[in-house]
């Protein structure tokens, strides 16, 4: 299962998790379009990532975990206390949540 991370309709990349590591793969065309339209202002540092792995969640996604602590977001996405960080992101992506032009969506 992978989560697509987009900015104003431009897919920046995809995030996966294999129980140990997060892995991010860029979509160069989407990144270039987003960078151009925003004059490089978007808070995004994962440009040109190929199989970028980390046991910690990338900074770009941490703020979404903060959003998931709100009661209305929890209720909408059916997030509970036992959910892992990855579970929470997947649930928010299922509902295609948006914030400041960014969005999460499950890949088809």
């Amino acid at each position: 299962m992978s989560i697509l991370y987009s900015y104003h309709g431009n897919v920046l990349g995809s995030l996966t998790f294999d129980e140990k590591n997060y892995c991010y793969n860029s979509v160069p065309e989407g990144e270039a379009a987003a960078k151009q339209m925003s004059f490089g202002l978007i808070p995004y540092r994962l440009y040109n990532s190929q199989e970028l792995k980390s046991d910690k969640l990338f900074d770009e996604f941490k703020v979404w975990l903060h959003y998931s602590s709100r009661n209305d977001v929890k209720n909408l996405c059916e997030i509970n206390e036992l959910d892992s960080d990855w579970d929470k992101l997947v649930k928010m992506a299922k509902h295609e949540l948006k914030s400041d032009g960014f969005s999460l969506k499950l890949a088809q």
């Binding site: 104003h8 339209m37 925003s38 004059f39 490089g40 202002l41 978007i42 808070p43 540092r45 900074d59 941490k62 703020v63 979404w64 903060h66 959003y67 709100r70 009661n71 209305d72 977001v73 909408l76 949540l97 948006k98 914030s99 400041d100 032009g101």
Partner: protein
């Protein structure tokens, strides 16, 4: 006080559009059924995670009325009650201040741009990118210099930010973190400018319980001195500084800021830096002396306008806000006048030496 009802049930007067995940308060976008093209945002202003009321809703409304008087751009706020799934919640509604859907960038984004540019282009140079007016100035200059196609009037933006900073100081705004500052980019004209100010409800300690507000009001009614106000405010930190940082963030969690406790020193530093900033700007001097002074009755007029629209508001808030606003305004005005006099004297001395 009369609240505008927002009922998104089947029989209701409004239709829910989308949840807005930003910030710690529950909020959602909706439109009224009789004007479906106008988007509004409902925000629950109860104490976080509880049903306990705060006066932040009144804070949003009053700050809007203050801004209207003094010519500062502010999102329109009105007190409201949401009826959703059979549950009523008090809060505010605000008109969408970005109806054309421009790209919006938080203060955090522009400060990060500046920090990353310095790091990437100057051999790992670490610059201060904390939430201060000075850093916004550096960041805007950096952005404008590296994006010639963008139209950025840095002076105009900084003057507007200066005015908002003065208002925040006079109203004891405690939540001007870098997510409560934003910029709009018009992609067709490439114009880059401040958005109207928003999330202004945490003024005059109205985000605290009544007893805190009552205590401050009583303190100032007995001893109307800036020293007592500053002593009271030591535990009520502010989020933005002029040059010196007033709140820190953890790189791991930028959305969480830790305001530094206000000491007597930090308030003195802040006020000295504000005086410096005001002395360098004729527009800010004019704003302070001619628009904000006691004779303008800013708070009385704000409550008058708000009560005309929405009915009677708690007299305690009116009284307390007047005391705080006028005390701070008088104090700041005196500091600026003293500094101006000193500067003129120094210039005279230099001339004759």
């Amino acid at each position: 006080m009369n609240r505008i009802e927002v009922c998104t049930e089947n029989y209701g007067n409004a239709s829910a559009i989308d949840i807005d995940v930003r910030g710690s308060r529950e909020k959602f976008w909706f439109s009224f059924n009789d004007s479906p093209n106008q988007k509004w945002l409902f925000k629950n202003t109860n104490k976080l995670g509880t049903n306990k009321k705060t006066f932040e809703d009144i804070g949003e409304v009053i700050f809007y009325e203050i801004c209207e008087q003094v010519g500062v751009k502010c999102a329109l706020y009105a007190p409201a009650i949401s009826v959703k799934d059979g549950v009523e919640k008090e809060g505010v509604i605000s008109a969408n201040y970005n109806p054309l859907g421009f790209q919006e960038f938080s203060g955090y984004s522009i400060l990060e741009y500046y920090k990353n540019f310095a790091y990437d282009n100057y051999h790992g140079l670490n610059v201060d990118s904390e939430n201060t007016l000075d850093n916004y100035l550096h960041a805007l200059k950096c952005f404008a210099a590296t994006n010639r196609a963008a139209r950025v009037d840095v002076d105009k933006i900084m003057t507007e930010m200066g005015k908002r900073f003065l208002l925040d100081y006079l109203c004891i705004q405690s939540d001007r973190n870098w997510y409560n500052v934003s910029f709009l980019l018009d992609n067709s004209s490439c114009n880059f400018d401040l958005s109207p100010c928003f999330d202004n409800g945490n003024i005059f300690c109205w985000n605290f319980k009544s007893s805190v507000i009552e205590h401050l009001n009583k303190l100032l009614s007995n001893k109307n001195k800036i020293s007592y106000l500053n002593e009271f405010l030591k535990s009520k930190p502010i989020a933005m500084g002029v040059k010196t940082c007033m709140s820190l963030h953890n790189n791991e969690t930028p959305h969480l800021m830790s305001p530094l406790p206000q000491t007597e020193d930090s308030i003195t530093i802040l006020e000295n830096e504000m005086v410096d900033m005001i002395l360098k700007s004729k527009e800010l001097q004019d704003f302070l002396f001619n628009k904000l002074g006691k004779e303008n009755n800013i708070i009385d007029k704000a409550f008058f306008e708000a009560e005309n629209k929405y009915g009677k508001m708690p007299e305690l808030l009116h009284e307390q806000a007047n005391r705080v606003f006028n005390l701070r305004c008088e104090h700041l005005t005196n500091l600026v006048k003293q500094a101006k006099k000193l500067k003129e004297q120094e210039e005279m001395n230099e001339y004759f030496v």
